[in-house]
């Protein structure tokens, strides 16, 4: 490796050729502030448009200051990262950005987590010297995401997530100069674009330009309404991340405190989406085996089967691969299965009318907000899931309600829809849904008992993984992709007839739900997502029952209500169909 010697802030530094000043400085403990820059190490994707100029440094012998994020080190370079010239320039740059930014910080959704706000604080900005024209755009509210573009600072991180990581292509920089902004095609609203609501743009937005549609007030109103029975379900990934909002290190499991907090918020029944994940496995696993066995008999059936739990992924193929809509499983997502069962089976059981039962979901996801509003998931206009709030929104709700999260005791979920297995828990991470499916499908197909339920070959963080599982002499080829860009690659292979898989698991967000758009902000730090993944597998390990089909309440649900997997009733309540949305994006 060729190395380079240079001086940064008087320190002699040796670094590899091709290293930027920003990285070299970081290696030696010098933190140069950045705003537009974002490095997703695992994905090997770097956003460095060098647009904000906050990271400028002085290089001796050069007339102009240089952006550290986009300037490579050269031999003998002498760099000053914080002399008076640099500090003044940095402050000026920041003040100029602020001169075209609303100052309603106190009532902004990002108040407290805004990177621009933090930087203004760190730089000691106490006065705005520049007053000029401000850009104004109309606010764009979709079912899941709000674009308040007045707050956009053109860092273009969202554009990178949408195009390079997710390959969705909903957002692009448009217009030029002062008028330039990130927007969907023809500056239409997001709900007229190919947006999947994965929320990865929201997850990286440094300011309040992109935020989620906040449903906490709807939840508070429902809880206060004495005529309503309010049921809550929490997704597996929430328990592995919520603690971060209360200062706990990433990867701390807070399942017990989470249920305790929900009970104190006033929910009547604290249930678990993991229960519905077990139910999903029963339906999806049965569908997989049915397709597989027909295929083995020589019938022409669509294979591989693709998982359908992830609503952003569903939106993605409805928009971009409508010709392949017969491949994904027809099983609804756990959120929607839960809603359908809660508003029929459970409502009957407790003698509450459908319209008086409110189902709230806590999700690591923003696309879930859209999913629960889909027309096909409602009966006579009453949705199966009324409101979906994100992990972040739940944290706000807990803080607003004077609940001291850290001193809460550990409590359990309620029955019957709160009992789940380890298989349900691992739905929260990439590789988890397919591992859960394999645990059940193996036993159903072979009639043999699985001694070891840990399928390590399906785990990890690699973006496209594959494994072959031996079903007692029958090799089952499995593919896994997370991040929609990677999903696209597997989908293209299927389209080109090059895919040899029997089943493929797809999750839209990098890392799976643990890296979802509704989770506590990780600011691009992938070690946080890895810590959450570890927590998910730890919860699985601690469960007594780890196979979905052994969940006693699932067995009871089939015996007393559904009959068997893929029965008519199960089809009606637990399965869905997809829509070609590729035409919907045309300009009105």
């Amino acid at each position: 490796m060729e190395t380079i010697k240079l001086k940064i802030d008087g320190k002699d530094v040796t670094t590899a050729k091709g290293t930027t000043i920003l990285k070299a400085a970081k290696e030696f403990g010098i933190h140069i502030p950045t705003l537009c820059y974002l490095h997703l190490e695992d994905l090997n994707i770097e956003n460095k448009p060098a647009g904000c100029r906050v990271c400028v440094v002085e290089i001796e012998g050069r007339r102009n200051l240089a952006p550290a994020c986009a300037t490579d080190c050269t031999e003998g370079m002498v760099v000053n990262t914080h002399n008076i010239r640099v500090l003044n320039a940095r402050k000026t740059v920041l003040e100029l950005i602020l001169s075209d930014h609303p100052t309603d910080c106190l009532v902004c959704a990002k108040n407290g987590t805004c990177e621009l706000q933090t930087m203004a604080q760190e730089m000691g900005i106490r006065e705005l010297h520049y007053q000029g024209e401000q850009s104004h755009y109309r606010e764009d509210t979709s079912p899941a995401i709000i674009r308040d573009v007045d707050k956009c600072i053109m860092c273009r991180r969202c554009e990178m997530m949408c195009n390079e990581v997710q390959t969705v292509g909903a957002l692009s920089a448009v217009n030029r100069g002062f008028m330039s902004v990130v927007a969907p095609a023809f500056e239409m609203n997001l709900d007229h674009s190919v947006c999947t609501y994965c929320g990865q743009c929201v997850a990286v937005c440094p300011t309040g330009a992109l935020t989620e549609v906040d449903h906490t007030n709807n939840v508070i109103r429902a809880l206060a309404d004495p005529t309503k029975t309010v049921v809550v379900q929490t997704a597996p990934a929430v328990r592995a991340a919520l603690g971060e909002e209360f200062g706990l290190p990433a990867g701390t499991l807070v399942t017990g405190k989470l249920t305790a907090a929900l009970r104190r918020l006033g929910f009547n029944y604290i249930f678990d989406t993991d229960f519905a994940a077990d139910l999903t496995i029963m339906e999806e696993g049965t569908e997989l085996l049915s397709r597989l066995n027909r295929h083995l008999k020589g019938e022409k059936v669509p294979l591989p089967i693709l998982t359908s739990c992830c609503p952003a992924w569903v939106n993605f193929f409805e928009h971009q691969f409508p010709e392949m809509m017969d491949i994904p499983s027809t099983a609804r997502s756990p959120q929607q299965m839960f809603g359908a069962i809660a508003k029929t089976y459970f409502a009957d059981k407790i003698g509450v009318k459908r319209e008086n039962l409110v189902v709230v979901s806590v999700m690591p996801c923003l696309a879930k907000k859209y999913e629960c509003q889909r027309e096909e998931f409602a009966t006579d206009g009453n949705p199966d899931v009324d409101f979906s709030i994100s992990t972040r929104e739940l944290a706000h709700l807990i803080k607003q309600s004077n609940i001291e999260f850290m001193s809460l005791p550990d409590e359990d979920f309620d029955n019957p829809l709160g009992e789940s297995t380890g298989a349900g828990v691992i739905f929260g991470t990439t590789g988890g849904v397919i591992e859960a499916a394999v645990r059940t499908a193996y036993e159903l197909q072979t009639g043999k008992k699985l001694e070891n339920v840990d399928f390590k070959e399906l785990r990890g963080m690699e973006y496209i993984r594959e494994a072959t599982i031996d079903f007692d002499g029958l090799p089952i080829h499995i593919g896994i992709a997370h991040g929609l860009g990677n999903a696209r690659k597997l989908l293209q292979d299927i389209k080109d007839g090059k895919s040899h898989y029997h089943a493929i698991e797809i999750m839209a967000c990098p890392g799976g739900c643990i890296g979802g758009g509704g989770q506590p902000l990780h600011h691009g730090d992938s070690s946080i997502i890895k810590a959450r993944q570890k927590a998910i597998y730890e919860e699985d390990r601690n469960k007594t029952i780890r196979k979905s089909h052994e969940n006693p309440y699932i067995i009871e649900l089939y015996e007393n209500f559904l009959g068997k997997p893929m029965s008519d009733k199960a089809h009606h309540l637990l399965h869905t169909h997809y829509f070609d949305k590729s035409k919907e994006t045309t300009v009105e």
Partner: protein, 158 residues
Amino acid sequence: MATITLSTNKLEQLKDVCKSFNNDKKELINVLHKAQGIFGYLPAELQEIIAKELNVSVAHVYGVVSFYSFFTMLPKGEHPISICLGTACYVRGAEKVIDEFKKHLQIKVGETTADGKFSLSCLRCVGACGLAPVVLVGDKVYGRVAPDGVKKILEEYS
């Protein structure tokens, strides 16, 4: 938003343009240039087809169209008039030439006359600075245009 419904014939023509650039996404600007040459402007529907043919997102195509002032989403006149506002043309009085065109046509820059005959736009440097100020009508270049020569140019197309 202006929309058009492309005839099959025109659609094929557009696809041929993309094909002539091997449907290569790196050729987007050239494709747009050619398409605008054929259709006069680049309405949303056209951009959607180009995006599909070149396998890029519509948002990206719109990003490029909205970035370059040369591209327009509004129909141009039969004889599009472009006045160069590059440095050389500017210092040699291009602005007065624009004012003269505006006066004669009774339209602003970026607009088209009611009869659809002329439209007015500005551009930055056509690379003929020796002829400054430069005016283009369609593909025809007029050099050293003085305000009192504007009327004569317009008469050529009446």
